[in-house]
């Protein structure tokens, strides 16, 4: 990766290594202490990280408020489930297929909203997620309606991956956790490369001032569609993984509120900041789940005050998120971990500039 001040680069490397090490060791530790539920939660957090990273391309990099991201997650999930159930297609094929299906839908929405102002795009995407939800609920013959698609895990083959002699069989929470972690790392790798290139610069320029970007030569049409497609691709992949892992999906998993939850993660963590998005997902998904577990164990079922404290907390969760959204945009609009811009080397140019002229 290019550019970042030398002193900070070391710190970032150490932190990154530590974070990866912690993520890798986590299931082992949890297993040791028999916190099986928390292993599941860790996998869930990882899925949300993947989703939030994708949405961050659209909201954080390009500045387009997409309120319908869960629809693309749902499109990926249902694509994977239906193809797996009816055609027994392998997980490894479904992974890109679901991603591409979601990306195609994303590109389509991107195209239809091209000429619209930001707040209108928010409304269109909101309308889209509702249409998808209503569609999934009402197309009974295909989606089994509100009852959802159960038993996917029994009708499909267990995904298996053999790498360097060792085989990873996706058949429990731990293996899925590691697989999703792998996807997250791959996503971060790809997204950082995109971000630190002309592609990412164009996206951010659009976020900063769309018409100025266009006048400076950025093909805003193409770049916005690409941002939509890239971002929603990850949603499709996440949907496919979730379907295979949990084995049961219903339309209510892919609602407007799910989208809002993802927006909260990004706003809280820091729009456009990878570390921020990771942190945002960790806090928003992790804290309530971990609290539930901890409180349940310490109250041992007997002390009901803890239990009711927790119940209230879960109830108040969305309420607190609402307040967080307001407070953050007003008092810390850049989020907990503000995004850092890539730096160029500090040298002075020796050569004279030369306008190279248009074509």
């Amino acid at each position: 990766m290019k550019g970042v001040a030398p002193g900070r680069r070391t710190v970032i490397r150490i932190l990154t290594a530590a974070a990866i090490a912690a993520a890798v060791l986590l299931p082992q530790i949890l297993q040791r202490y028999q916190q099986y539920h928390l292993i599941h939660v860790a996998g869930l957090i990882a899925i949300y990280v993947l989703l939030a990273l994708g949405l961050n391309v659209i909201i954080g990099y390009t500045g387009i408020l997409n309120l319908g991201y869960a629809a693309f997650y749902g499109i990926g999930a249902y694509t994977a489930a239906l193809l797996a159930i009816h055609f027994k297609i392998s997980f490894w094929l479904l992974l890109p297929i679901s991603g591409l299906a979601a990306a195609a839908a994303g590109a389509l929405i991107g195209m239809t909203t091209l000429r619209l102002r930001g707040d209108y795009i928010a409304i269109v995407t909101l309308g889209f997620v509702e249409i998808v939800r209503l569609g999934l609920n009402n197309l009974d013959f295909l989606t089994n309606g509100p009852k959802g698609l159960p038993g996917i895990d029994q009708t499909i083959l267990v995904p298996q991956l053999t790498l360097a002699g060792r085989s990873l069989k996706l058949d429990n929470d731990i293996s899925y956790y590691y697989f999703i972690l792998l996807l997250v790392l791959a996503a971060i790798f790809v997204l950082l490369r995109l971000h630190n290139s002309r592609v990412g610069r164009s996206w951010v320029a659009i976020r900063e001032d769309e018409s100025a970007a266009e006048i400076m030569g950025v093909n805003t049409t193409a770049m916005k569609i690409q941002a939509f497609a890239t971002g929603t691709f990850f949603a499709g992949v996440a949907g496919c993984v979730y379907t295979h892992w949990v084995g049961f999906i219903t339309p209510e998993l892919f609602t407007f509120w799910e989208s809002v939850l993802l927006v909260v993660m990004i706003v809280l963590g820091g729009m456009g900041s990878t570390a921020g998005v990771l942190l945002g997902a960790l806090l928003i998904v992790g804290i309530p789940e971990v609290l539930r577990d901890v409180l349940q164990q310490f109250s041992g079922g007997g002390a009901s005050s803890m239990k009711s404290f927790y119940d209230n907390l879960i109830l108040a969760r969305m309420l607190i998120f609402g307040v967080i959204m307001m407070v953050i945009v007003i008092f810390r609009p850049q989020g907990i971990v503000p995004p850092k811009r890539p730096r160029v080397s500090e040298k002075k140019s020796g050569s004279e500039p030369a306008p190279d002229g248009g074509v």
Partner: protein, 301 residues
Amino acid sequence: MLFQQLINGLTLGSIYALIALGYTLVYGILLLINFAHSEIFMMGAYFGVFSLMIFEKLHIFQGAPFMLVACALAASMICTGLLGVIVEFAAYRPLRNAPRLAPLISAIGVSIFLQNFMMIVVSPESKTFPDTIPLHVYKLGGTASISSLQVIIIVVSVALMAALHLFIKYTKMGKAMRATSQDAETAKLMGINVNMVISLTFFIGAALGGAAGVLNGMYYGSVKYNMGFIPGIKAFTAAVLGGIGDVRGAMIGGFVLGILESLGAGYVSSAYKDVFAFVILILVLVFRPQGLLGRKISNKV
């Protein structure tokens, strides 16, 4: 059947039109989609229920159903109006000069907050709206009929819209509102207190949304913490249909949408009635974002 659907559509449409006015008034002045408006509508319905409960406890207006409704409506409108002013003050005013995404996000925050507040503090279950008006059904020839509730909803809505029209057209504050929505900078130079006008706009918009909430509660007989979302989107659709920022357009858009929806539900399928509204919304936004009546506005560089 057609006539009946038109009457139902008119009823629905007058509720949508009232809510749509709130979106349009605020948009006209701040160029901002007030995302929290659907929750103001929901709060209006609850304020209606609460005031009816209080009136019953205090044994006032008990023999006079119209007085009862009028007072509940007025109480709810005042409360939602004030709530609207508070929301603007807390969530929008600090972000006047922030990037465009910011007020949108804080509005969604307000929305989530209000919904969950009502869910936790009042109840996650729906609440019955107390009976007020004795229900009469008037035959209108053929199979069509109109209920006393529908008459009241239509009459009240039309009266409120007429009042708004007169207010904007003929009062000093109304003229200040129009001037500010034309050009806030010039209005300021002309000595108009723009902050004051913005607060007033939020008050009026929210009060109309609150009235719609009460009427909606009466019509369907119940209220719930998440009742605002769908009518909110539909009213927004209505506002866009009429050209957002255009007061007359919002009224017309509301009625058009209400009638289209009733016809769709009657002749096609009621399972998809919400889908119609969303599809109309997307089609209009994509192909005619200036609305069916509006003029095209160019962006300045």
